[in-house]
Symmetry: C2
């Protein structure tokens, strides 16, 4: 298993995820143990398939948020461990199903589980992990936490269905796109942040603060991901770049570039995202079109806006190492784009 | 919506589902309303896809069992309605995912949702329904009921993965096959039966009785379904016959016929289920091979055994119309094979 998120070298000027990793290290060790325990099954294929993705180097940002938020509310029990594992399972289940739905070939630089193990296995192991996520929540026994997390499960599915409607639809508005990512990404970040204060019996206002923090962090995170899929603002065209492009996904950079662009630009997006001409030459041209329309830089600006909302959401809370780490995590998420 | 299960004409000598339909009619009306309410969504595609399958004439046997079991324990609240709807949603979610996993073209005599709407939509609407199932349970707020149902969700997924390993494997033993259907079918019947007594605060022994009733009813139900896929014992080769055969599924009739059969019989199963020659002529021959080996009649005999266990499980309970209806439902399930 091992630590999944490597400590970043800390740059003086650049925000780091290191403080969040540090304040959650003890808890995340237990989360990782819970994840191993709950991916075991008498059906030998299940742990093999489940761990293929779980061990593949995800950042575990969502469960770290759960642990840090609980600690920021002075929670002293151990239920946050199971809730954090539950959140990670819900996330992983959606990745399994997403890769099938999107017919993706690569995730985190590895072949997707559906290519290695098959679509059938990916759908069913996703279902298994969703079931285990619910078992973990039920074990904790907090009905308010169950309420928040089961609502998130429904909202995520709604967001995924909504996204099918925006795929290859270059006329998608920014608001429509936001509605998709609020549901498919931000809802789980929001739930991940809120269940900590809930089990800590925090005030309603504190729960609402973390809910808002999580939702806005989630939107910012997704927008930066969208920008990174085109190399971010630094034209950093390493591995994993171009997945959204090849799948015909209309993400915010495209929404902005399409609406701002010339007729020729719009014809370009139709030829590529809609008609499917998405080879390396087209990807290169896509980055040019995005840059010409300032779409990547402005996607990052939009992300900054949601990041600022996340920071202000937590502003009234008392100072703590956990709060500081959660705040710096927002800046870190945005700094990934450079 | 309408009543989904048509009243069977009652034959003097033949068991009927009519008593179960009758004792649960008032409750099932509310269950149907809950199902309509919980399939609505701002995402317009979701109710369309969800109801396509939900309205397609399933028997709603599982929620009827939940309602009747609660009533048999003199439950006077209304939580059994939401739990019954939750059980039906879990069942429907697995149908959506099954049809994708099995690449099925028809279910209940209709084109599958995946053909009408697409695989993507079927996976995601299945996830939505699973989420709604959990929301319904959480609304009820009974942690013991949540425990039973969330365990069932995990077990069902395990059973589905296990079944992938038996598909096209003609060497599957009867015990291995039983392990699959205990998980993929019986676990949900068992949970459906047990949550009624649980919310009625029934004794442990009563809960265990219903759990056992449901599990054994579920096994009997599945075995009869397996026999019906080859026309039952009456060679009733109407619509929907041969689905398992065409999908290469090794069900109990095949397990028995393969183990009992001649070398030529075994070569036949390899040519058809494994190598995929499954046209109408082969299906006809399959029924011959099954009959020659008494495999359909003995599958029904095996079902009778589990049916008898279901009846004995409920034997110690006081007499009631609901108990009688649940007992007759077992006989009805088995009588479908003739």
């Amino acid at each position: 298993m091992g630590v999944v998120l490597p400590f970043e070298e800390s740059h003086k000027d650049k925000a780091s995820i290191a403080p969040l990793v540090e304040v959650t290290a003890a808890g995340m060790e237990q989360v990782n143990q819970a994840i191993i325990a709950r991916t075991s099954s008498d059906v030998a294929l299940i742990p093999q398939v489940a761990r293929y993705l779980i061990d593949s180097g995800g950042k575990r940002l969502r469960p770290m948020v759960t642990i840090a938020a609980a600690q920021a509310c002075n929670y002293s029990g151990d239920a946050h461990i199971r809730l954090a594992a539950s959140v990670e399972f819900m996330h992983t289940a959606t990745l399994f199903h997403d890769d099938v739905v999107d017919e993706s070939d690569a995730r985190r630089g590895k072949r997707t589980a559906r290519l290695v193990w098959g679509n059938q296995e990916s759908v069913l192991v996703g279902d298994f992990l969703l079931g285990q996520a619910f078992r973990l929540m039920v074990d904790v026994g907090s009905l308010p936490a169950l309420d928040v997390l089961s609502n998130a499960a429904v909202t995520i599915a709604e967001g995924e269905v909504l996204q099918l409607g925006t795929a290859k639809n270059t006329e998608t508005t920014e608001d429509e796109y936001l509605q998709v990512i609020r549901a498919k990404t931000a809802a789980l970040f929001s739930a991940a942040a809120e269940v900590g204060p809930i089990i800590a019996d925090a005030d309603r206002a504190v729960c609402a603060a973390f809910r808002s923090y999580g939702a806005n962090l989630g939107i910012a995170f997704q927008l930066i991901d969208d920008a990174l899929d085109y190399g971010g603002t630094a034209r950093n065209l390493g591995k994993n770049v171009g997945d959204d492009f090849r799948e015909g996904k209309v993400t915010l950079p495209v929404v902005l570039a399409y609406r701002r662009g010339s007729d020729a630009d719009r014809a370009f997006w139709s030829r590529t995202l809609v008609a499917g001409e998405t080879g390396p030459a087209e990807l290169d041209e896509a980055v040019d079109v995005l840059e010409r329309n300032n779409a990547l830089a402005d996607t990052v600006e939009r992300a900054r806006h949601y990041g600022a909302m996340a920071l202000d959401a937590l502003a009234p809370l008392p100072e703590s190492k956990c709060k500081d780490a959660l705040l710096e995590a927002v800046a870190f998420c945005i700094s990934r784009a450079y």
